[in-house]
């Protein structure tokens, strides 16, 4: 099996599952309980938070644990919208956001907020000048995806953050779900106020995530209840999963030291091989893209057909983002880049993890080429 759909989800590390199991068994109590067992659970929760903060280079009190990327994005975007509505009702985002952000903005529009969706260039990138032009006195939030989940394109978040540093009334949210550990990002340096991360994209467990909330930012919480997570995310803490997630953060951060360069090599190799194939166009830009995502159009073949052909050989790649691959529509992200509808429908995504080896990639490429010519021949 060669699994190249790591942007949809990753396989948890065995050590991560061990942590899950141990914590579920030995720290099962509710961290809010006042007794010793509760205290022990609370101490572990604090330790996890401290460790996560260290790995992200932020303060402990700036981290809340969530149920994942979707909740993180929703909490950030709606939390700012409702928390700062006195200040203004204008927000800026892009046309290439993950549905977890896009749908939140659409809901806010229905509630009377004014949202500007910035265009992207052919590489899927917004321009900082466009951000500057879109800013108004009543702009309360700019929300940008760091690494695009379909194309791998990196947005200029540092520049946007710099621009916004002079505008303390406009908060800056970054969806870092795909970028985390693959494309380094210093939250403070980049002037980020809110940043979303998800556990299952980095070999952690499902149902985990972090929202970074810079000190001083006052969100209106999405979930009301027992007041856990500084009152910003009520609900009994999922401690076994949190501990396992933080372990995955630690392990992937460690792997990233040498892993990023290795990924870069792999993706260059894939790009080079695919570009040599007749009728294949690589959509992911050469410069300014993450090392683990490669999007390509296989002209003349429906993406689903090609994916299933590869699957018969034990190779797993995907169409566009997993959340919407059931729809027959072309990818909105690719269309936004000006890729024609036909080519967008024929696009496939290859997404790597630190665990993929050069041997796997060679086998994948051979199979890719063979299947491509088989299918093309069958069609003639």
């Amino acid at each position: 099996m060669i699994y190249l759909d790591n942007s949809a989800t990753t396989k948890p590390y065995p050590e991560v599952l061990d942590t899950y199991k141990t914590v579920a068994e030995e720290y099962f109590a509710n961290p809010s309980s006042l007794h010793k067992l509760g205290g022990r659970a609370e101490a572990l929760l604090n330790k996890c938070r401290a460790q996560a903060a260290r790995l992200l280079n932020v303060k402990e009190q700036e981290i809340i644990f969530t149920s994942g990327g979707t909740e993180g994005n929703n909490t950030a975007i709606k939390g700012v919208a409702f928390g700062y509505r006195q200040r203004g009702k204008h927000m800026i985002t892009t046309k290439v956001e993950h549905p977890a952000s896009r749908a939140a903005f659409e809901q806010l529009e229905a509630l009377g907020y004014d949202v500007t969706y910035l265009d992207v260039d052919r590489e899927g990138r917004i321009s900082v000048d466009d951000v500057k032009r879109a800013l108004r006195d009543d702009t309360i939030l700019v929300s940008v995806i760091h690494v695009n989940n379909e194309l791998g394109t990196i947005q200029p978040v540092e520049e946007i953050g710099n621009l916004l540093k002079e505008r303390p009334k406009t908060l800056f949210h970054v969806d870092h779900v795909q970028g985390f550990t693959k494309v380094p990002l210093d939250f403070y340096e980049a002037g980020i106020d809110l940043c979303t991360i998800s556990g299952h994209k980095i070999h952690g467990p499902r149902g985990t995530g972090i929202l970074f909330i810079r000190e001083g930012v006052q969100l209106s919480p999405l979930l009301a209840g027992g007041g856990q997570e500084h009152g910003l995310r009520s609900g009994t803490e999922n401690l076994p999963a949190i501990a396992a997630f933080v372990r995955a953060m630690r392990m992937t951060t460690e792997r990233a030291r040498t892993g990023i360069a290795a990924l870069d090599k792999l993706s260059k190799r894939i790009r080079q091989a695919l570009e040599e194939l007749p009728g294949v166009t690589v959509n992911t830009p050469k410069q300014g893209a993450a090392p683990h995502i490669l999007n390509a159009t296989v002209h003349g073949l429906r993406a689903e057909v090609f994916i299933h052909a590869l699957e018969e050989e034990g190779i797993y790649i995907s169409t566009k983002s997993a959340c919407s691959s059931k729809e027959s529509e072309a990818s909105a992200v690719l269309l936004a880049c000006g890729i024609p509808e036909e080519a967008a429908r024929q696009a496939v995504r290859i997404s790597l993890s630190f665990e993929n080896t050069p041997e796997e990639i060679e086998r994948f490429l051979q199979t890719f080429a063979r299947k491509l010519s088989e299918l093309k021949n069958a069609m003639e």
Partner: protein
């Protein structure tokens, strides 16, 4: 130091070993994203479908009426906010009780700030709402009634079926928080007649971070978490497949063992109460004398202070709680006991909650009862 005797299962329960094993094997073998089109995705999707069917069957619902969430708090928020916003053109009045969990109460308070009006019904000294009082509170613009199934502090059961009967034929949605009732009560949404029902897995030896909301077919909610198209657009976010399968497993075990568990908890309760009586401790049981949730016993010890009592019991190796949501180490007087007995009542200041679970034995409970008797005796005599 010996392991404390854990009698705080209403706060959370240990995950059943079979549940953990099942989850770990799902992580190993079916880690795909159910929304992916390849076979990994399909395998994961199949597990989610099967779990949904099994869970629906267990509560007499149909599979598409089950929406998976991250737990009880999210289910409650989704039900209440989702119903309020879906029906806001029809009216803005909501009815609940004074003894709900904070996941319901604080959600209602948040809605009050957004232009909704909320009536908080009183309860009697047993913690029960009066169906007549509910009838009187109903208005033309009432859109939602949310009343819990069984109380998490005192175990009192509310007359859910009678309330559903009263609401029949009215255009009012009925939500019940059944988080504490799963595990000891047989739940059938059709006979109950509710529109919305919340559940969380970690109270019945399932995993944390997973639960569901039952949404009767035809009931429209405004989703509060937007994104991908999971859960028929009612709850976006990548499916927590291992959690969902873990919930299914925990519910299956609980269903199979329910009667046995209820008998066991009742026996434990008898041991607890008879030991306290034998030791001559002055106490009263808070809650419904006609019987409430089998795993919860709320005890009033006149002349004690709950905070001191809890600390002393903890030092002696008995893990119980005050029943109120405790944050930052302070014990606020319980809102439930306050609603039952009044803010200045002795009960609100001198009561603890004992809650039983799967692994408790009669010996443990007897031992805990003796420790409670000694501790209370010391406090009351001022020694």
């Amino acid at each position: 130091m010996m392991e404390p005797i854990y009698l705080d299962h209403a706060a959370t329960t240990p995950t059943h070993p079979e549940v953990i094993d099942r989850m770990v094997s799902v992580y190993r073998e079916a880690f795909g994203n159910p929304s992916s089109v390849h076979s990994f995705g399909r395998k994961a999707r199949r597990l989610v479908d099967e779990a949904r069917e099994a869970i629906a069957r267990s509560i007499g619902a149909s599979p598409k009426e089950i929406v998976f969430t991250s737990g009880g708090t999210e289910s409650d928020n989704m039900a209440i906010i989702g119903a309020a916003y879906a029906k806001k053109e029809q009216g803005r009045h909501i009815i609940t009780t004074k003894v709900e969990h904070h996941a319901v109460l604080n959600t209602c308070r948040a809605l009050e700030k957004q232009g909704f009006t909320v009536t908080y019904l009183d309860v009697d000294r047993a913690g029960r709402v009066d169906v007549e009082a509910l009838r009187r509170a109903l208005r033309d613009d009432t859109i939602l009634v949310t009343i819990m199934y069984g109380n998490n502090e005192v175990g009192t059961l509310q007359p859910i079926a009678a309330i559903a009967e009263l609401l029949k034929g009215r255009d009012v949605l009925f939500h019940t928080d059944a988080v504490q009732a799963f595990g000891t009560e047989a739940i059938d949404v059709r006979t109950l007649g509710v529109d919305l029902l919340s559940m969380t897995a970690h109270k019945i030896n399932g995993p944390k971070g997973i639960g569901f909301l039952y949404v009767r077919e035809g009931v429209r909610l405004v989703p509060y978490q937007h994104g991908g198209e999971q859960e028929r657009k009612r709850r976006a976010g990548t499916h927590n497949v291992p959690g969902i399968v873990g919930l299914q497993k925990a519910l299956e075990i609980a269903d199979a063992e329910r009667e046995q568990r209820v008998r066991h908890y009742r026996a434990l309760r008898d041991v607890l109460l008879s030991t306290l009586e034998e030791r001559g401790v002055r106490f009263a049981v808070n809650g419904d004398p006609d019987g409430g949730l089998a795993h919860i016993v709320n005890l009033f010890f006149p002349g004690t202070n709950v905070e001191t009592l809890l600390t002393a019991l903890d030092l002696s190796g008995v893990a119980v709680s005050s029943g109120s949501a405790c944050t930052a180490g302070s014990v606020d007087p319980s809102h439930v006991l306050t609603a039952m007995f009044g803010a200045e009542s002795e009960e609100a200041k001198s009561s603890i909650r004992v809650s039983f679970g799967l692994y408790n034995t009669e010996e443990q409970v007897k031992k805990a009862a003796n420790i409670i008797a000694e501790t209370v005796g010391r406090m009351v005599s001022g020694a």
